[in-house]
């Protein structure tokens, strides 16, 4: 029996200065799953300090409920990092091999196929069929890389995000390239699931790809890729989210949004875009530029945005909590606001909200739209091919 130690044997309490924890509960109080899940970050930190049996802590499964939204760490008055401690425990679970099979599948797929969705590398560019998306594989180089991301590349619903973005970039004459089928997962969720070794391999692969191509700027479809590159990789070059790129194109007058898209919308701030990357205004700038769009803010917007529970690997984890999911509450709130659509700018938010829309019976009254999708509707050319919005 020994106190909780990380995989290198360092006592977690010391490594993360957990003895400095005030036990104030602000982490748990702000946890988006706190009301439904046995996960209690405050108590976990305390137990990491005082319990003699670290293995018993590692055996507990509630750490899989964490969405890695980082609210706990952002709010900690002592600037401790409960989210990192939870991740350490996940890493210990990973090293012990006892993890939910759904997470196991995602990790093994990422190792084998370079994406967590179990799809072949070869199919990574299928989303772009019929669109003039440049790729380094075709010798089309640029100093700006659009990192498409696994979910926009493979998920049929999210492919519409990527397609819309490609059309916007094309309409603006925006120069970029992509890695094509050589793109591999950024590792954001891999890291947050606690798979450090796999994350390191992905990091190395992506870093090498960027250096080899002399990329000076990266634009990501997903805020999760954004966070990985900015925060986890510590990339020296600027990394920006698609919403920022589109907002800048609009500001520069390079993107003619002319068609009316009359819609009352609420914007759902993704955790990884807002709270974790500080990007709040760019998506709102884009919304303001779409003719006919009226933005109604959620009560819980910006810093207080309610996590949709799609982060931290939760796309592959059911979670222990019972009761209404946050995404369901979110779409109900949107319905109460009387909006036509919830707009977001993250593939995971898009998927969780789409699911919630169906389970709350709001299928016919509420639309879930990606920001780029909405902007692309206002482009002055025919809309993208077959609708790919129907999901089970």
């Amino acid at each position: 029996m020994a106190r909780l130690a990380d995989i290198d044997g360092n006592p977690v309490a010391e490594r993360y200065e957990l003895t400095a924890c005030l036990q104030c509960g602000r982490c748990t109080g702000g946890c988006p799953v706190g009301l439904r899940s046995p996960l209690n970050s405050r108590r976990l930190l305390y137990e990491a300090v005082v319990r003699e049996d670290g293995d018993a802590l590692v055996a507990r499964d509630e750490v899989w409920d964490c969405t890695a939204c980082r609210t706990c760490s952002d709010r900690c008055p002592r600037e401790l990092d409960p989210a990192a401690v939870i991740r350490e425990i996940r890493t210990l679970k990973i090293e012990g091999g006892r993890i939910p099979t759904t997470a196991m599948d995602a990790l093994e797929s990422t190792l084998k196929h370079g994406n967590p969705w179990g799809r072949s590398r070869r199919r990574r560019t299928q989303w772009a069929e019929g669109l003039p998306v440049p790729s380094v594989e075709d010798g089309q180089e640029s100093d700006r890389l659009w990192f498409v991301g696994c979910t926009p590349a493979y998920d049929p619903r999210c492919q519409a995000m990527a397609r819309a973005l490609a059309r916007l970039f094309h309409a603006a004459g925006y120069a970029y390239t992509t890695l094509g089928t050589e793109e591999v997962c950024c590792g954001s969720e891999v890291l947050r699931l606690g798979e450090l070794g796999l994350f390191e391999e992905l990091l190395e692969t992506n870093r090498e790809a960027l250096q080899g191509l002399e990329i000076r700027e990266v634009v990501t479809t997903s805020p999760h890729c954004l966070t990985a590159f900015r925060t986890d990789y510590g990339l020296e070059i600027p990394v920006r989210h698609a919403s920022q790129a589109v907002a800048d194109l609009l500001d520069a007058g390079r993107l003619p949004l002319v068609r009316q898209a009359p819609l009352r919308v609420a914007f759902h701030d993704p955790c990884y875009l807002g709270r974790q990357s500080g990007v709040y205004d760019a998506p709102r700038r884009v919304l303001a530029a779409v003719p006919g769009v009226e933005l109604v803010e959620f009560d819980r917007c910006r810093e207080r945005s309610l996590c949709c529970e799609g982060g931290g690997g939760r796309m592959w984890l059911e979670g222990l909590g019972e009761g209404e999911r946050n995404a369901q509450r979110r779409v109900r709130d949107a319905a109460d606001l009387g909006v036509d659509a919830v707009v977001t700018a993250c593939p995971f938010c898009l998927l969780t909200l789409e699911d919630a829309r169906k389970t709350t019976g709001l299928e016919d009254t509420l639309e879930i739209v990606d920001l780029a999708e909405l902007a692309a509707r206002a482009l002055d050319d025919p809309a993208d091919g077959p609708g790919e919005e129907e999901r089970s």
């Binding site: 509960g25 109080g29 209690n40």
Partner: protein
């Protein structure tokens, strides 16, 4: 011996500065008391009651403010800033900048007709009430204010900001029967040499909506029902915007949540320190809410209760016996659900993440160094601590702070409550007096 040998400058006319000024003046020192605001009394003037005795705040303060106004050895300058200070053998040569009040305090009889006549009457958020009430561009902070004279808000007055006020000119001028309005008044400066300086610049309350250090998740500035503790004092005060009735957004709250440690003990807000006064202030507010809102559910969310002063623990017990519920947990966020505000926190004793519905949320905002503290420190060569407050030259001797007879009083040197502010005001006065006497002695010997 020159005239200035027994002249002291007191910067800041809050309770600490007033105490220093009076102690010095009573000892025969000529005191120049400068105040950047419109009246003396500082933040204490905003308080309704003081702990742990629940004495009426003005009952303690008013005798001192009126005395400072009429003391023959005290010269009071409001709307005045210290803009330069140069060490000289006698002490400091200081330059004071007196901003115009636009109302002649000697002529003004505080009848209030100017404020009634003002075109912006009822539209200007009252600074003294911390934005809760609405007044005019010419206003008196509160009825017992010293000096008892109205003042024009230069940032609001139409005549001063736009150069014209309506077609027929400023109505206040016409309304004033004693001709006290002076809209053409200009700032002036004066320079004098002083033998000692007492710095009593006090504190500013933490702003939960501050763009950099604020806590936007608490909804302050977004929901009218979320107020700070000092705003609560104004609500509770008979001189406040509701005449002392606890009403918020037109309603009488029946669920009051008081959130401790907002902007204190919180690195994310740039303050690791404890603001010292909030625990007792919140106990007081809980008690007041229980007394004035019959049947109200009053909950204080805290992480520790610090009741170190004499009679403090007893006071906390009194609030608790009065039915205020103290729950352990530092609140994380406030949002709206329907008509309710909801405070999300973990009750750490239950170990449960919880939602607390409320219709009044009081944020126990901590104490921050007053705006301009850094400038004062620079002018007078005073050190500052990592918390931004002024630091005494020797941490074991709280008053002496800088070369040439500079002394600290009150909250400019870190959070203090009223009794401590008074005590440190006297301590600074005593130290300043000692310095003046010693300087005079050296001079005489030399």
């Amino acid at each position: 011996m020159e005239d200035n040998a027994y002249t002291a400058l007191v910067v800041g006319a809050g309770i600490a500065g007033i105490q220093s000024a009076l102690d010095l003046a009573d000892a025969g020192v000529r005191v120049v008391l400068v105040e950047r605001g419109d009246c003396v009394g500082g933040n204490m003037a905003r308080l309704d009651k003081t702990f742990p005795t629940l004495d009426c705040s003005s009952c303690t303060l008013t005798p001192r403010t009126s005395e400072v106004a009429r003391h023959p050895h005290v010269r009071l300058l409001t709307r005045t800033d210290l803009v330069a200070a140069d060490p000289v053998p006698e002490g400091h040569r200081v330059r004071l900048r007196v901003r115009p009040r636009y109302v002649d305090p000697d002529a003004c009889v505080s009848c209030g007709r100017c404020a009634e006549a003002c075109r912006l009457a009822g539209r200007v958020p009252r600074t003294f009430d911390l934005g809760l009430g609405r007044g005019s561009a010419v206003d008196l902070p509160f009825p017992q204010a010293v000096p008892s004279a109205y003042a024009v808000d230069p940032d609001r007055c139409l005549h001063l900001t736009r150069g014209r006020c309506g077609r027929d000119g400023p109505r206040c001028v016409a309304a004033c029967e004693v001709g006290a309005i002076r809209l053409d008044e200009r700032p002036r400066e004066e320079t004098l040499t002083v033998g000692a300086v007492v710095v009593a610049t006090g504190y500013d309350p933490y702003r939960p909506d501050h763009p950099d250090t604020g806590r936007p998740e608490l909804g302050y500035g977004q929901y009218p029902e979320v107020i700070t503790n000092l705003q609560f004092e104004r609500l509770a005060s008979a001189s406040g915007p509701t005449g002392g009735q606890l009403r918020i957004a037109g309603r009488v709250p029946h669920r009051v949540a008081i959130l401790q440690c907002v902007g204190s003990r919180d690195r994310t807000t740039g303050a690791s320190y404890c603001s010292r006064v909030c625990c007792m202030a919140s106990a007081k507010h809980a008690l007041l809410a229980r007394e004035r809102l019959p049947g109200a559910r009053v909950t204080v969310l805290y992480m520790d209760l610090r009741c170190f002063g004499r009679g403090y623990e007893e006071f906390l017990e009194r609030a608790q016996r009065a039915g205020a519920v103290f729950r352990r947990g530092n609140p994380s966020e406030v949002y709206r659900r329907g008509d309710d505000l909801v405070v999300r926190f973990e009750d750490t004793l239950l170990g449960e993440a919880s939602e607390l519905p409320a219709d009044l949320v009081v944020l126990a905002a901590g104490l921050r160094p007053a705006a301009g503290t850094a400038a004062v420190a620079r002018l007078l060569g005073i050190g500052r601590g990592p918390d931004g407050f002024l630091a005494p030259a020797d941490p074991r001797d709280p008053a002496p702070a800088g070369p040439g007879g500079v002394f600290l009083a009150g909250a400019c040197a870190g959070p203090v409550d009223v009794p401590d502010a008074v005590a440190s005001g006297s301590a600074a006065a005593a130290a300043a007096l000692g310095h003046l006497v010693a300087s005079a002695g050296r001079e005489a010997a030399g």
